[in-house]
Symmetry: C2
Subunit: 453 residues, 2 copies
């Protein structure tokens, strides 16, 4: 079925490594799948991992493990392996897109040396081609392993041609149909080829409705497209429509996940891709920046409040509701901002005017603001002896919810128009700004109402 990496398994394996029991260790490695080995390596130190790695007899699998490792693990691994081993033991057995990723991870000075040690010159050529593309584009995601047939062939020739090509390609999801100039014309499925009568021409049975992307399309856009149309692989073409390669679903799922994680981290005020298992200093570095942004913002907030010192001194009860006003502004603002950010990310919010969106947000905020303000009013009406305070706090809460909701809608929409990642607006930035504005609103309303009531 599938493998589960348990504590016992790891402890047992480390014992074997310490005993240098090569035979037993190699046996265990032979039984594990590449993805499981990659997961295992994350839990070992570099010496232990290297020991196991060199015992991996199946080179295809060793190459897969290297491709599956996360960036940090891979970097420390590549550092301890000689150029020769990287080239002949791994790169030669990898898909071109994974190979290009590995080469790109090497320091500049090593890249050329490793490239020159690759024995398969076609593979080396493919990698050099792929390195030219920005890694955040379709070109940066694609692999060169494709199976193609000529549109003018008949079924028998096509099958013979596929047999010739198939050695290079692990998973044929689609067979691409091209013309003599290698211009992409469409696709044909293996089953259709199998089912076709002898002598049938490809041009009479192929599917010409093919979705393709240009090499410079943004990775995020490519992922959206493949998700929308449920595509298992997407062909990539150049400016004049010549087939360059294909992108498979697993790479696009990775792009989607990274985008989602980025938005999630942004909202939690974390500035780097970290995990709890990372080193302490990495966790500190990832978390400190937004804490500092929040700190500076809140120092400004305290400065703002100090302007109302007299008011706070004469009505100490005003202070009781400072955290409430700040928090409710923060909560409403984050709600609005996150709905907009998610809408922009999945494309459901692309059309129509900003004004209309703000108007809709206003309706939602009015209702929720009124309900919250009414509850707070009822509470204070019964439990507070200051009517001025009761009115002030409720009116301020209502105003702050309205303001924060509109601000939370407006800011990400504006960032998006300025081509800045709107997700910035969901994190500590929005809560801190809303805190400051909320405090001003609260104290101003308090100043007016306490002098009136």
């Amino acid at each position: 079925m599938h493998f589960e990496l348990t504590k016992e398994f790891i402890e047992n394996l480390i014992e074997i490594i310490n005993k240098k029991d090569d035979k037993k260790a190699a046996e265990i490695m032979a039984e594990m799948r590449a993805a499981d080995i990659a997961e295992l390596y994350d839990k070992l130190n570099i010496e232990q991992a290297k020991y196991l790695f060199l015992l991996l007899e199946d080179r295809e699998k060793a190459a897969d493990v290297l491709a599956e490792l996360d960036d940090n693990d891979r970097a420390r691994f590549l550092k301890v392996l000689p150029d020769e081993v990287i080239a002949s033991k791994f790169i030669d057995h990898m898909d071109s897109d994974d190979a290009a990723d590995v080469i790109a991870d090497l320091p500049d000075e090593r890249q050329e040396e490793v490239l020159q040690k690759i024995k398969d010159i076609d593979q080396a050529g493919d990698i050099v081609d792929l390195l030219a593309y920005d890694e955040d584009t379709a070109g940066g995601l694609m692999g060169k392993e494709i199976v193609t047939v000529n549109i003018n062939d008949d079924v028998e020739h096509a099958i013979a041609e596929i047999r010739r090509q198939v050695d290079e390609v692990d998973d044929i999801y689609y067979v691409y149909v091209v013309d003599d100039d290698y211009i992409l014309k469409g696709t044909i499925s293996l089953t259709k080829l199998l089912l076709a009568a002898k002598g049938t021409k490809i041009k009479d049975i192929y599917n010409d409705d093919v979705i393709y992307v240009k090499a410079d399309m943004k990775a995020e856009e490519v992922a959206k497209l493949s998700d929308k149309y449920d595509l298992v692989a997407l062909p990539v073409v150049d400016e004049i429509g010549r087939l360059l390669g294909r992108i498979t679903f697993d790479d696009l799922v990775d792009v989607m996940r990274e985008e989602a994680e980025k938005d999630y981290q942004m909202m939690s005020g974390i500035s780097e891709d970290v995990e709890h298992s990372d080193k302490i200093w990495r966790l500190i570095r990832a978390r400190l920046p937004w804490l500092l942004v929040g700190l500076v913002g809140e120092i400004i907030g305290s400065k703002v409040l100090s302007a109302y010192e007299g008011q706070l001194a004469s009505h100490a009860a005003l202070a009781f509701f400072l955290p409430l006003i700040a928090a409710m502004g923060g909560n409403s603002g984050v709600q609005s901002a996150s709905i907009v950010v998610q809408g922009l990310a999945n494309g459901t919010i692309s059309m129509g005017s900003t004004f209309k969106k703000i108007l809709k947000e206003l309706s939602v905020a009015m209702v929720n603001g009124l309900i919250c303000a009414a509850i707070l009013f009822a509470y204070n009406f019964f439990f507070s002896d200051s009517f001025a305070l009761t009115v002030t706090v409720s009116v301020a809460l209502f105003s702050v919810i309205i303001f924060a909701s509109l601000f939370g809608t407006f800011v990400p929409l504006t960032l998006h128009k300025l081509k800045i990642d709107p997700a910035i607006a969901t994190g500590p930035f929005i809560t801190t700004s809303n805190d400051i504005f909320g405090l001003i609103i609260y104290m101003t309303i308090g100043g007016i109402l306490f002098s009136l009531l």
Copy 2:
């Protein structure tokens, strides 16, 4: 290439619908892909959408459109279509998993009626089988469309058998190898079948290392598994290993996306899956619950503060930093909680003791807390005339960051152990709790230090 749904396109189409230009409308529908039509329907009213739907001549495509529609759109659509049309025009042409989803969306009393009107009795049987599974399990995700060959066959028989079965299955990703009792033994690729010499037995060339899942496995677990091993389709078996169906990557990508969206919404304090384009009352309903939770929490906070009325009245400056303390506690807590929640979601945090994790969090919080407290100390040292306040605010900030970080780590870990979704700990719940505890810490430290200094 691919289609983009523009404002102009929609306006133009609505004009055609209003003119009742059947021919032109049918032409446009014939050119569009199912996913694009589903996207289009979201922008039309139900009458316009129904009009276009009934003009769709390609029944396969019509069925695909119904499968692609989001739940709300589909529900309002099914409401206006007669049982007869649903059964013969759509269900008969859908994959069994999509068909079961559609039937499950119907009100109970209609389900049986539609099921009885399905002409293809095999399809109806498959749907009834699938309806038995919980929709959040592997069984609920799988389709019955699989291609199988017997392990004892030779290649020619197997290919003939595939030809016979292939009509039902859109995309053959894997051909499954079963024994006489339909027990799953492994897989074989079409290319391997194509390349094999005449007379070769399946049992000599099939791949017996197949990853499969049991029908009652949680959908989320299935998605993790397919993501880890980059699987395009996963076979599903019953308790004794008999092959029941397969789950394709597109359905698993949907599960992953929904999980990510759920966590994101939880963090933003939104209790339902909503989009900005949803109706106003839905947006209100999705956002109000957590606002109310926050409100009640903060009312408790104000009550806590009122216990310190004397202290606040005699040192009004203490109030200036109330929002700062509350906000910084909230920010640190959300950071910790979100790292834990994400770690639990992607499985990188499963092993080891809670105590160790808390200890690690403590180190991170100490460093960040010290840095923030030092900056605040420096600020107040130069700009505030009260040394007691300067010390109080910095000590409180340090303590609150420590407390909030530990609390933010502890709560989701504990929820997870209690089998409650830990993502609850990332939303307004954590910020509100941290607010209250933060205020108590702050006022207590203030009380002590102001009496000492």
